[in-house]
């Protein structure tokens, strides 16, 4: 487990649970792409669409490529001013 990977707050967990069809409690910061059987490139598109719609941010390609774990998603959003603890 990566202790530096921030855990998402309830709002982000709810979004991720919807995208990945995964129970919210499992969505800790340490959860990686390979831990989920369905996190493929199409899910990445769903993820981008959901995050941009929900938070009103624009994710650049570098951001999208960097989102390889729940913690990295949280980091990318934090860098864009999103309060992930909400």
């Amino acid at each position: 487990m990566n202790p530096a990977a921030p855990d998402p707050g309830p709002r982000l967990r709810r979004i991720l649970a919807g995208v990945f069809r995964t129970p919210e409690p499992s969505l800790r910061g340490s959860l990686k792409r390979e831990d989920l059987g369905n996190w493929d490139s199409l899910k990445q598109m769903d993820l981008v669409h959901s995050l941009e719609t929900e938070y009103g941010v624009v994710l650049e390609i570098e951001d999208i490529v960097a989102m390889t774990s729940v913690g990295e998603i949280a980091r990318v959003l934090q860098a864009k001013g999103v309060k992930i603890e909400d």
Binding site: L42, M45, D46, V48, H49, E52, V58, I61
Partner: protein, 238 residues
Amino acid sequence: MVTGGAAGLGLAIASHLQSRGARVHVLDKDADALGRLPAGISGQPADVTQPEQVRAAVAAIGESAGGVDILVNNAGWIHSEPLVNLLESSGGSHDPDRFRRCLEANLVSAFLVGSVVAEQMVRKRKKGVIINVSSVSAEGNPGQTAYAAAKAGVNAMTVVWAKELGRMGIRCNAVAPGFINTESTRKALAPAALERLRDLCPLRRLGEPSEVAHAVALLVENDFANGAILPLDGGLTI
């Protein structure tokens, strides 16, 4: 952006989209035809079977117009050749090089342009639309092994892209014309064959390029049309 848009069906589509308010740019490898484009339609020479030319053309539109919102994959080559031709003195089978060329011209070209434009749309978050020009030949026209295979591939690609890209607000549809009154059709089919096909069509006529253009515009403008393959053949395939 309309590929193969400097003449024939492509030009009819380009002109119709322009009349509907689109800013139209065509790609075509026919430099002479590009020189005769109507006012208001811009164009550039490009062979859409060549990846580097496709990338350069799409990048240029990105710089000059901010990107492509509507792509019409129209470029193609109608090719008729039986699998085995007993009328040839050699009695030979379908030429493999012409088979490959036909797939390059009709299927690979649509893949290349579609993939580059879709990538650009995804990167720029454009809610765009891709229209592939297919053909009723995809149903399996005898005498058109290569063309039918290519257009069936175009249909499959259309559905895949509709499913993959829909989540990003990018739609993909196809129009599948029957026999249309164009120079390409007249070059590909003997007059007697065309006459027979006209008789098989319930409407007893060939379609007009403007009618295909109208169908393309419909699929562009209807925001709920996604993954549709619209036959436009006067009832030939019913």
